[in-house]
Symmetry: C2
Subunit: 254 residues, 2 copies
């Protein structure tokens, strides 16, 4: 029903909404694959969005794999949005996360954990053309790229180019190379972080996006700040245009 | 015993180790305060280090407050190091964190949660001169400064300058202003993230540090990369000198 309604809005207002991204009933993988097909072939969806976990189970679970395989076959992207609630406590002594930590930092942590699990599950070796869009400019990935390049067991049992955990996972490349295969949206809204994220992913993998309408100005503040942050990047106008719209047109096959 | 041994090393090799930071038995707050006094007054410790939680309990617990009060009275800093193990699972369906996520991203998340809890507990209103050093250049704080500036309830029930959760906590300033009161070490080892962290905290709050010896080269790689990252900052040599040593000399009262 939601996807039918989104398709209808796009048909009615094509100048405003050139395309939509379908939602999937991930509690039922078979139905999700069928709905992905229906949304792409019959409704004109140009990708799908899923959440970082399926009722508490990681997206890297092999039973979920057909959804990614189908989207790779369609050559359309999978957008991944974080989801956790205050019930995800930050301390062993407590039942709930306090002070909105589950939201402000827990959501980007979720995105990062999800991307890491997908990568270590071999997803991007199995489907090297799969396009995954990570929210909030890759979550924690860019700021902690140094930690990605130096794993825990690597410190004690590996070498500068030898990561035992990556070897156990039978990854074909250094882990950081897979993180760089991800797309990242610009929904950070600050200049210095956007520079940091762009330095990691590069212009080709950055897509303009905001969290609008989720601020206290119906999204106007987020749009204003995020446009300013992209414009502040020390890159050419051609590259900025790619981030603002060109990359999305390619990814959405518009 | 550990603090006695560190003091002894400093006495024997003053050119190499000008000072040390004491460890505290945080399972016993009264003993921690006594040991902080002993270490500072009798052993020459120039600060203390604690972990982000006390056996699973947040550092913001009021019963731990005397440790911070005493260090504020000494006008010496509290270094906070993250700690969690793989037992801190990332998914409701699992018992353990996989793929070293608990380390690579869980540790900086811990630091961020800890700083947030300390701030919302009113610690920096109670002790505005208290100096706290956050590891890994503030954890997630700089990259997600935009999310700090826009709380969850603020989106729906607040305004551009009104954060209901900060009001409930009776904070006197906007939350982001407290995060900027923290010190941050440079233990990221990458150029773009170091720029992002420096942009948030400013030169005065940045202290050179690495995770040495914890790489697969006994720390040489971390030292090389972190020195290069600080040198790549677009600031004067005077400011770089402050980050490399001047700020630490002030903070440690050397």
């Amino acid at each position: 029903m939601a996807n039918d309604a989104l398709a209808e809005i796009c048909r009615k207002h094509p100048d405003h909404f050139p395309a939509f991204i379908a939602s999937l009933p991930m509690n039922n993988v078979e139905a999700s694959v069928q709905e992905a097909d229906r949304a792409v072939k019959h409704l004109g969806a140009r990708g799908v969005q899923v959440f970082t976990n399926v009722a508490g189970e990681p997206l890297s679970a092999m039973r979920v794999r057909p959804v990614f395989q189908r989207m790779a076959a369609h050559d359309l992207a999978v957008w991944v949005h974080p989801m956790r609630t205050a019930q995800f406590s930050d301390y062993a002594s407590e039942k709930e996360s306090q002070n909105e930590i589950w939201f402000s930092f827990g959501w980007p942590y979720e995105t990062t954990a999800c991307m890491t699990r997908l990568i270590y599950s071999g997803l991007l070796d199995e489907l090297p053309t799969l396009k995954i869009v990570s929210h909030h400019m890759g979550g924690m990935i860019p700021y902690f790229s140094g930690k990605i390049k130096l794993g825990f067991r690597q410190i004690f049992f590996g070498g500068p180019e030898r990561n035992p955990s990556a070897e156990d996972a039978k990854l074909k490349k250094p882990p950081v190379d897979y993180y760089k295969m991800l797309y990242a949206d610009t929904a950070l809204g600050e200049v210095a972080p956007t520079r940091c994220g762009h330095a990691f992913f590069g212009t080709d993998k950055c897509l303009f996006a905001t969290d609008a309408p989720f601020d206290s100005e119906q999204g106007r503040g987020l749009m204003r700040n995020t446009i300013a942050a992209v414009n502040a990047l020390e890159i050419s106008q051609v590259e900025k245009d790619a981030i603002f719209s060109g990359n999305a047109k390619k990814l959405l096959q518009l």
